[in-house]
Amino acid sequence: MFRLRRNGGPASVAVVVEGALVHVVPGASAAAAVLAAGFASIRETPVTGAGRAPYCMMGVCYDCLAEIDGIPNQQSCMVETRAGMRIRRQLGARQLDPPNQHNE
């Protein structure tokens, strides 16, 4: 659990984490938003499905991988939040959706 240091401070950026609205300060990363939203883990590993949370917060450990605005497996600690950003936990390996097509 994490809390904002100043209640009613400048937490003016609204993002959506797993469908719920969360407010963060400008400049906060998407990883911070997930922690602020109260989630213990941000992803489940593709190897064993174990839950993971960010470890380093500086782009080294890759434990903060999350799906951001529909794009999976992004280093969420390196992505700055923007209003309306949609963040989801990364559950295992990414799903691929190739178009079903019969081209001429």
Partner: protein, 455 residues
Amino acid sequence: MNSVEFAIIGAGPAGLAAAALAGEFGLDTMLIDEQGSPGGQIYRAVETARADSPLGPDYLAGSHLVAAMRAARIEYRPGTTLWHLDPGGPLFLAHAGRTETVFARRVLLATGAIERPVPIPGWTLPGVMTVGAAQILLKSADLIPAGDIVLAGQGPLLYLLAAQLVQAGSPPRAILETTPGANYREALLALRRRWPGLRPLLKGLGSILAVKRAGVRRRCGVRGLRAIGHARLERVVWQGGEIAADHLLLHQGVIPDIQISLALQLRHEWDDGQLCWRPVLDPWGQTSTPSVAVAGDAGGIAGAAAARLSGQLAALDAAMLLGRINGPERDRRAATVRAALAREQALRPFLDRLYRPQRSILAPEEDDTIVCRCEEVTAGAIRRAARLGASGPNQVKAFTRCGMGPCQGRICGPIVGALIADTLGRPIADAGTWRPRAPYKPISVGALADLDAGV
């Protein structure tokens, strides 16, 4: 193709100082940083920090460095990742999913430091993170951990963060110091050999006193740390004690970020004083490759002030090599910088000895402990590979997948070297390093496919 004289990788104190000085000399300079705003980790988010920040005046002083960079006539590229470098050839950058090629006559790696990994049993549990991570959350998101916080480890940052948490109204429940008793003796001997001055010692004491005044419990000489929990951290256990916890913040010092310098195959050496690999550098930061230099903690841990000064030295050297000043002029200007640098480095032997990590932190004793977080490879698997004949990290990687995940060995690299050394009974220096490859950070297949189109 874009072309510059001087490319600097990293906008922490070393990179900022180098950029500002390079600008003064009129060098055509590009400052490249993967973070969205300048300051590196130590001065992270300093531009938007408030004057009453719990992080203190030393942190806020970083804003001067940032301001100097902003004022300089250089090109600043935030949110930009270097994914491949051909020494003597172009830099390959990625920004917002697009790739770009830039040619630079000279490159300065100012990639700073990373936390030494702390592979205790259970370190991958949600709720466990580094002290640096907690500090970044405080700096950049104004978030503090709530509930029961335990700090564990050793190093100046431990008490610094503890004091910052106290200031921010969230004092930790306990600090578990892992400093072995023998370290104090060694550290005192170092002080006798070289007296660093009273001020730096007092600064460190200030944090410790602030924490003591707040009534935070301290345990010293802690061994056998483990994080216990089912889906997340529930309690912290050590030899002779345990405590319930929601957050465990770990710290065992920092080590140079050598991912790029290793990828470039620059010559490195094992620094037994700091228990880490570092690039071999001359007094100006020049590496074994003529067009590449290193400044700041990426060349060996010496702290933010020393990083700033070594950034200046590298910029002076660049100014000479790129024809703006001659040798004697460079040396003249460097004199005061060197004197200041020597003063900054005076405390280092003391700190290195005092905070030298236990062997079991370098090479986890229990076979079940995860070493490669990405691929979930355990210490036992690595030991088995070493016994099967994998005599170095690259063979271990081939046999176990350790190091093949997205972090490309940044976290597990130091641990693997120590485990191999341990298992085969030889010095860590002999175990060698592995060879990171491009892309230094992931880029999409599409961005790579469009490479020449993006120029």
